[in-house]
């Protein structure tokens, strides 16, 4: 998308918001500028702390997800024997909406940080394993043989072949699971949370009836998702320049 188009769509959305807020004329939908003012003020007070807590949870889950899931995906993609053993489990568990594990995680691990990070991690983990595995399967044996003949053993193959070849799949997996991950983050933060956007939104909306703050919280959560999305975009352009080349014709 071009910058002008993005700007235009934002303006359209704001306009729509103003119109509906005007027509509705009730405190449950304040005008955008009110929300932005509260957002700007709160960002450096309460809201900021909640946003940081939520961001850390998501980033931690993504980080551990990448570190554990990508090697597993590569191994499954390259070893037919292990693939045969583990693939049925993965494909059985993959389509289950991980949201249903939220009560289980709380039941088993209580209300602390662990179950929150765990659930988001599980979502990202499966997405990365499946996509990286499929990507690693497409690697031609001739490529591996050629690089082995240049002296590469297991470690060098990982560094110079498997890692760069599966990087795009990792990025795609994170992009695809960000939406679900943040939705589930909201859910998990409703329970036994001191800091977290889910808790903030719920508290301001249904207990304090401070709707402008609630919308500021929703805005923060949206921006968290958007931030991850743009971050991935940025990293991918930086780390995978070959995906963005123009053909010479």
């Amino acid at each position: 998308m071009k910058k002008r188009e993005i700007l235009l769509s934002i303006l359209m959305m704001l306009l729509l918001w103003y119109i509906i807020a005007y027509l509705l004329n009730r405190p449950i939908l304040p005008y955008p500028h009110r929300v932005f003012l509260v957002f700007a003020r709160e960002l450096f007070h309460e809201l900021g702390k909640h946003l940081i807590a939520s961001s850390l949870r998501v980033l931690l889950s993504i980080g551990i997800g990448i570190i554990t899931a990508s090697p597993l995906g590569i191994i499954l993609g390259q070893s037919q024997r292990l693939d045969k053993i583990f693939l049925p489990f993965i494909y059985l568990l993959y389509p289950i909406p991980k949201v249903v594990f939220v009560p289980l995680a709380i039941l088993f691990f209580g209300l602390g940080e662990f179950p929150k990070v765990l659930i988001i991690y599980v979502i990202i983990f499966f997405q990365i394993v499946v996509l990286v595995r499929d990507q690693a399967k497409t690697l031609k044996p001739e490529l591996i043989l050629s690089v082995r003949s240049l002296g590469a053993g297991r470690r060098a193959l990982f560094r110079f072949v498997y890692l760069p070849s599966t990087l795009p799949a990792i990025f795609t997996a994170i992009r695809q699971s960000t939406g679900t991950a943040i939705a589930v983050l909201y859910l998990t933060e409703l329970f036994g949370t001191k800091y977290g956007l889910g808790y903030y939104i719920f508290l301001t909306g249904s207990t304090l009836l401070d709707y402008s703050s609630m919308y500021a919280g929703i805005l923060a959560m949206s921006l968290l998702g958007l931030g991850i999305y743009l971050g991935i975009e940025f990293l991918q352009k930086r780390l995978c320049p070959w995906l963005f080349i123009e053909m010479p014709h």
Partner: protein
């Protein structure tokens, strides 16, 4: 007594035991020789190359190169496959530098890299080969952005930057148009004599086999026991001897076409 550069001793190899490819096969190659291996598809010529490269292991017997048995890829052996195996995510320059990077990654351990010190200045070496193979102006492009002949030259540069003593090639130029192919065949011979390289080219093209090999190993239908070796011709396409040798091989292979 000093042995040959490459000695294949009583080699036995099969993928399925019922269909052996090599049984008690012996073959010798001297240092600095240029050999071609020719035969119909499925005759095991690529398998022989992979055995020499240390990517496959003999079931029985052994392969000695420079007096040492080959059990894994040998750092001084370069291999160029038909599917060149260039990294799609690396530029031409990065692809040429790949072997050097792998060597620095392990250090001069004698297993992944030769024991001699690894040159520190990769860029200078890479530059030299980019220039030598006329790849300077495409150095920042990716393999998908360059022509087939250029890709081929990247593969050659990537192999030779490591200063190998043995170059193994599997159908290296088969996907190229005739002028580019002949150009690269000539370049290969030039580099071979300059560097004193031993080269072994596996091909199904008779003309290529005779042009690139001063000696030609003919493989017919497996299992192979005794090697049939033909003396080649000088690499001159308008020389009558060149055509005689081509005809000789053509007739020989015809007699042994699979039924």
């Amino acid at each position: 007594m000093k042995g040959s550069f490459i000695e294949v001793r009583d080699l036995e190899f099969f993928y399925q035991k019922e269909q052996p490819l090599f049984v008690g096969f012996c073959w010798k190659v001297e240092r600095g020789e240029a050999w071609s291996v020719i035969g119909p598809s499925g005759c095991g010529k690529t398998t022989l190359l992979f055995l020499l490269a240390g990517l496959l292991k003999p079931k029985k017997g052994e392969i000695l190169i420079d007096g040492k048995p080959v059990n894994r890829p040998r750092p001084e052996t370069a291999l160029i496959l038909q599917d060149l195996g260039l990294l799609p995510w690396g530029t031409v320059r990065e692809n040429v530098a790949l072997g050097l990077k792998i060597r620095s990654f392990y250090g001069p351990d004698g297993v992944h890299a030769p024991t001699r010190p690894i040159p520190k200045d990769h860029a200078k070496l890479v530059d030299h080969w980019l220039e030598r193979l006329n790849l300077k102006e495409v150095a920042t492009r990716y393999p998908s952005q360059i022509s087939g002949g250029q890709k081929q030259r990247v593969a050659i540069a990537r192999a030779l930057v490591l200063e190998p003593d043995l170059l193994l090639m599997d159908e290296p130029f088969s996907s190229l148009d005739a002028p580019t192919r002949e150009d690269l065949e000539e370049l290969t011979l030039k580099l071979q004599s300059e560097k004193g390289l031993t080269i072994i080219t596996v091909t199904h093209s008779i003309e290529e086999a005779v042009f690139l090999g001063r000696k030609i190993l003919c493989l017919k239908r497996p299992p192979h026991r005794d090697p049939l070796i033909l003396e080649g011709a000088p690499p001159e396409r308008d020389n009558p001897i060149y055509h005689q040798v081509c005809d000789k091989i053509r007739n020989y292979l015809k007699e042994h076409l699979p039924r």
